[in-house]
Symmetry: D2
Subunit: 293 residues, 4 copies
Amino acid sequence: MSVSKTKEKTFVSTLVKNSYGKSLVRLTKIKRDGKHPEWKEITVEIVLTGPEFAGCYYDGDNSKVVATDSMKNTVYVEGAKHPLNSIEEFGLTLAKHFLEKYSHVAEVNLKLVEELWAQIPINGGLHPTSFVKGGEDKRVTQITKTRMATKVESGIDNLIVAKITNSGFAGFIRDEYTTLKETHDRIFGTKVEARWTYKNESCDFNSGYATARNTMLETFANHHSLSAQQTMYAMGDAVLEAVPGIEEISFVMPNLHRIPFDLINFGLENRNEIFIATSEPHGTIQGTIARKK
Amino acid sequence: MSVSKTKEKTFVSTLVKNSYGKSLVRLTKIKRDGKHPEWKEITVEIVLTGPEFAGCYYDGDNSKVVATDSMKNTVYVEGAKHPLNSIEEFGLTLAKHFLEKYSHVAEVNLKLVEELWAQIPINGGLHPTSFVKGGEDKRVTQITKTRMATKVESGIDNLIVAKITNSGFAGFIRDEYTTLKETHDRIFGTKVEARWTYKNESCDFNSGYATARNTMLETFANHHSLSAQQTMYAMGDAVLEAVPGIEEISFVMPNLHRIPFDLINFGLENRNEIFIATSEPHGTIQGTIARKK
Amino acid sequence: MSVSKTKEKTFVSTLVKNSYGKSLVRLTKIKRDGKHPEWKEITVEIVLTGPEFAGCYYDGDNSKVVATDSMKNTVYVEGAKHPLNSIEEFGLTLAKHFLEKYSHVAEVNLKLVEELWAQIPINGGLHPTSFVKGGEDKRVTQITKTRMATKVESGIDNLIVAKITNSGFAGFIRDEYTTLKETHDRIFGTKVEARWTYKNESCDFNSGYATARNTMLETFANHHSLSAQQTMYAMGDAVLEAVPGIEEISFVMPNLHRIPFDLINFGLENRNEIFIATSEPHGTIQGTIARKK
Amino acid sequence: MSVSKTKEKTFVSTLVKNSYGKSLVRLTKIKRDGKHPEWKEITVEIVLTGPEFAGCYYDGDNSKVVATDSMKNTVYVEGAKHPLNSIEEFGLTLAKHFLEKYSHVAEVNLKLVEELWAQIPINGGLHPTSFVKGGEDKRVTQITKTRMATKVESGIDNLIVAKITNSGFAGFIRDEYTTLKETHDRIFGTKVEARWTYKNESCDFNSGYATARNTMLETFANHHSLSAQQTMYAMGDAVLEAVPGIEEISFVMPNLHRIPFDLINFGLENRNEIFIATSEPHGTIQGTIARKK
């Protein structure tokens, strides 16, 4: 996407890519249309791309620039109009809005992150209007929309899990750089970051998310793990089996190491009970798993 | 605690306080004595104080210094021996250890922070050996022990809550510095940091913690709030009523503001649904509440 | 400071301490009165205390409450009027303002943190109106003012330093918990947090800060260190000698450990060159050093 | 890169991408070969890719797996042998090592981040063996090496700058979503993240870095800015002009907003001196600038 410019003589270079937008737009919406009010906490990032923005870079010509402050206003105004049943549906509406409203925008990239909250438990029930922050994981969607195509990539960040049996790591390469011992019974902890691609815009995003999250947790819990890689693949394969609307899933899974503390030096026996939790350095496993064609 | 020193002539000053220790000692313990293995994740901080450490400051005389690396080892070794039923009991054992082992230590200060984890839900039950990180709040205890007295101050950090009705803020001082509007229906969000003092070392720390946490959540949910201060006091009073072993409770509660976005400018009606979430600046409310004598 | 209340019957407790205020008020001021414009970046925290605030806690009576939003406005309005030559002078003015304006305020606590910026170097000189963020350390002052007394405690946060010779750690206690080896040539790294108390409000705060910072750096650099404690004491003693207006200085100095990586296992010689940088766990040294009377 | 597997029947999916490695390997090296010892602080991330790793994902077959712990050892061992004159040269050596040592590795991705430290100033000179953490920016390189090609992409993270004159933002689109006022005299602050691609492996990386950094700072300082985009492009064009070995440069530049505080409400005049510093939401500008062919 090379673009024309007016002051060509003074520059040695060409702008080959551009994009700009607004980050950390934090929207809280109380939905008052149901029996009980619901609340939604979403952080939105908007990025716009298009060749006509190049004049701003070359010449400071802002005549095509949608101010990022206006993008921020748009999130709140459109958020007021939209039912906000899922971050995917709201994101698709926002992306469509920017393409329709501004004919010179070629591509819209959005990221929406939703915080987990739960109703406060009270007298064996749930309080209708009071909430406590739930788990540390977040629901995420990233939407890419051009005038030709739409991509919805959703997922989870920061889903922290650990298993204390059925995990080993042995049989790896031993050479002069190797000091790690083999183990057939270790703690395996990780922080799952997952992204999956939906087949199209009419998938049921809320049930897709709920099923994918449960499936990942159950597979992690039940898997007999010979390596973090094997468990990751099993999790991805299980999600694809459980959610027909998902075509492909990718993971980034850092290893949250727990290193056995050697009690022999202190006159005690090692019984696989005492571990040093450590965060640096750490292994990181990545992979992309696609439905078989 | 002014202390003697040997090279008095060369210094213009006196050491009036000293302490040192080890921070971020991260212990994971798998308890294998019950029906199912349990797992505990605790971060320990140890601080030792005593006049005999002064020689190290004045002269670099390390003969009285317990290396902080040895303190770290102690956490793992004692952690292997101790049942670890509560962070308070383990902390009291550690504090006693340092005072008994090293006769020149005058005071031990410990902070133990426990992460929340939950068993992974599976087929309507709970997986016995796989865990997911629970809420974002942490259980905390701070123990101060000398040869004369012991103080156990326990609590919760980072308990994030919000209520969307029954909260207002009105009737405050209006003067030339005031631009805030009164409101009788606002979102009230906060991140509770609580510390309570137990009467003595034989309290039931686990039930004290569970009851205090539930009581704070329920009171926050049910309170008709005229100010953050009033809700905070009500929470503290309710904890003191619910847990006889607690003598005093202190709170630090930042206000997690949600500011109404004005839709009038955009041709829409304000219906108390759309808010800007913001983290700076923020109000902070503090207080200490004691049982009436 | 126990306080009366109106609904005594319904409560089991008494409010024994209260305070509230505004945090993270971020002020940028461009001073346009000199030859070149100057710029200041300050984050302010304000806390007010007084027995008359208790009604807000007990009854939700906000009639004595200065809204924290008004406190925020005050920082900007008073910041416009004040020359802002030092954070200490501005803080003292703010503290005086709150006590004079609101007769029921008993005590004002302020914390002001100033970011370091430097003019951008250009053609061997300095650009008059463009700036680059300087070192990672921050200048800090904490002011406590009642109707009777004023305390100005200033300092530095996050001054990160390291020395690669003239530092050892040996001769410490060896017992069954000790595995650390003695060393007479180690890397000593730390992140200095210092707070010093000025004799009175008419000290030269800017020169006090500059001299204290330089003195700490020079002493750290030149000291032959037998322990972190000894170097810390030497730094404090040197500051008290260099700045007559400072009465007392306190430090918190975490040890930024660099652990030798053992190359012997890999067929190489250990030449004290290769280290693992690690941030957990870490030692922490603290002390308070006062001018001899 | 679709890969074969052995238990095909049990899976609904195929692994289409894989990679794994070690993150946060923190190396400190003291170079003792010059007149004065030098010190280097580098954090390394290693990622390996190759079709033969697929067996580990499908079957838990670890026979081709280089343990990430061994990768960590490799950084320290190779770091001991290498002169470490630049992170680029060390990274290229590491990448070559992994490809040569393990014939089944198809691609190595490395990221090396170097912290800025400066010698402590002392008596008008510089202390030879004591250091203070310098500016907040970090030097970075990302190296991608296969058996066919090598890419060296270097840059800077977190270079925080601000200019207080010669910056405006006007003439942008005004529609029903626009509330931002035009300004011809604003503060323009940003945190530069830059990445540039070197022509080949024999460029002078240290002088490339130093010249690029100075050129970005000078251009930012001197530019008359009609928009953040325009200044970013000018910075990139200037770097390409100043460093012939750089082919292309990309930027991510968040806007560190400073919003005028309106003093009119408080009986004062607005003189463009008092600003609210805010970090959310914020604009973000991106672009890639290539040398004209």
